[in-house]
Each structure stands twice: as structure tokens, then as C-alpha cells.
Assembly symmetry: C2
DNA sequence: CTTTGTGCAAAGGCTTTGCATGCTT
DNA sequence: AAGCATGCAAAGCCTTTGCACAAAG
């Protein structure tokens, strides 16, 4: 699975109107600290009596991503997952057994990635890193 | 975009029959050194008078991936791309302008990834790294 | 001869788009 | 009042599946 490099050019967050749907979606995202699919968000909103059209969920997530407010990852099955941007730049250590994630910061790789890009004459480098393994809990099984 | 870590458990490559379609697909893959989509492979085979059903292409790629013979990456648009496993483990530096890729080896990150996993008690670590930027050529434009 | 592979057509799943209506500003 | 936002339905893509036929061993 892939993590979009936390948007470096989170540009000029275009203007958006405040609607209760958008608010509900952001609130929903705030209640998680890990990634959820558009469908999951839509289903949860519906369950909690705050139904929002699936289309609207997709459009809101698209807008939030464009503004650099959320991180998007594309899972191995091609489905997108979203999560509010965390405060800093970091990567994920994902358990292949249970899917739990750990956020890791990595000054080492940041530098390495920048260096590699520079060595090949590439500018405006971004990077994507995902580490997976079996967490202590899943090793027991 | 995401690079599946070169299949570690490339298990017991199950038996497969030799058919001209499968041969053609592998030959096609051999002629590239970068990633192609199933559609691209299918189209090229058709153009080169060696038509193979799209379904067959998908099934063959699926089988090859299961055998650990090819690497699969899921692009940002959710489309899968395939490439014959390269000899060694490496990562990609991709140009966001023209899509050209450069293979880079990175002992530094390899160690870093292993260390991070170990620090959190994760075993059987695998990792995925993708670096993008603008290549010298595209900076001119 | 038996089993696996092939290919067409159709279905599936995620995401986007068209368009009329509703709400924000 | 003007314009973006919403939501339903429908369309688009990529990918998988059902099924009958062909090919491999």
C-alpha cells in the first residue's frame, strides 16, 4: 500500500463553503487516527443519523485532499483510504496481520530521499514510504 | 504509488502449463524494464499480431505475481502495473513530469527500514519506497 | 482422456459525472 | 439573488467471474 507524501505543495487551499455535510465528514475523520475508505465514512455517517450522499463524501474528500488537509493512500486492492493530516511528516509501519499502524518519523530517510533525488538531478522531491511486518501481537498467532 | 516489496515468500511456484499466450506475455514483459499496465500489455500484443484476450492477460499476470515472478505496483489512480522481477532489490525515482524512472539502490534505507521495524517489535519486515521529483529534462519546460 | 488455459460476455466494485434542486453567502 | 454544494442516477474504469470451447500433458 502506498502513502501519498504529505502534500508539500498544499497550495492555496481554495475557498469552500461550510455545509453540515462537510462538517460532519471532517468531524468523522477527526474521530479516527487511522485510514478509512469513503464507503466506511459514508456508512458510519448514515448509521449515526447524519446521512450524507456517497457522492458528496467523495467530493468532500477530493477537495480536502486537494487542499492538503487529508492524506490519501491507495490500498493494494486499489481502494483509496483517507485520514486527516497529522501534525508532522511521518511514515507508517503497518502490520500485515491485523492492519494496525504505527507512525514513525524518519529523519534518516528524509535525508536519504533528498540526496538520491539530487544525485540524479531531480528537483522538488517527494517520497512515499511504507514499512510492513508482523506486530508483536500477531506473532503470537 | 506503491511498490510491492519483492515477494519474500515466493513460495512454491505452482505448476503452469506452457501456452503461447503466456509465453507472449512473458516475452512482452521481458522487453520492458519498467512498469506497464495490463491494458498496455494487451494492446501491444494485439498491435504486434499476437492477440491475447484481456482476461488472459489479467490471469497470467495474476499467476506470475503469485509465483513471485513479477512485481506489482498500484498507481495513484488505482491501476495496477506489472514488471518482471529485477535481479536485485531496489526502488524507483520517478519523474512527475514525464514518468521516466531511475532505479536506485539504497543500503541506507534498507537498514533504516529494518531498524524501525525491529524497534517496534515487528518481524518479517518489508518495505515500499517511491521517490518522485522533476527530472532534469522536465525542469527545462 | 483429463485437466488447465483461453476468451467472450457479463457482473462487480470503486469513483466520477450530469443535472436539477437546495443551501450558503 | 447568485453560485457553489448536494444527491440521485447513470456512466466509466479496472478487474474478476461464469461458462463453453480449445489446447496441453
Amino acid at each position: 500500500m502506498e502513502t501519498s507524501a504529505p502534500n508539500p505543495a498544499q497550495s492555496s487551499a481554495t475557498y469552500r463553503r461550510n455545509t453540515k455535510q462537510r462538517t460532519a465528514i471532517v468531524a468523522m475523520l477527526s474521530s479516527f487516527d487511522d485510514f478509512r475508505s469513503a464507503q466506511q465514512i459514508h456508512d458510519l455517517l448514515t448509521e449515526r443519523d447524519n446521512p450524507v450522499g456517497l457522492t458528496t463524501v467523495y467530493r468532500a474528500l477530493q477537495a480536502l485532499a486537494a487542499d492538503g488537509a487529508i492524506d490519501v493512500i491507495i490500498a493494494d486492492d486499489g481502494e483509496a483510504r483517507y485520514r486527516l493530516c497529522s501534525r508532522g511528516h511521518h511514515h507508517h509501519l503497518v502490520c500485515r496481520g491485523c492492519g494496525s499502524t504505527v507512525e514513525v518519523a524518519g529523519p534518516t530517510v528524509e535525508r536519504w530521499a533528498a540526496k538520491v533525488a539530487a544525485e540524479h538531478g531531480f528537483t522538488e522531491p517527494e517520497h512515499t514510504i511504507e514499512i510492513s511486518g508482523l506486530c508483536p501481537n500477531c506473532q503470537a498467532n
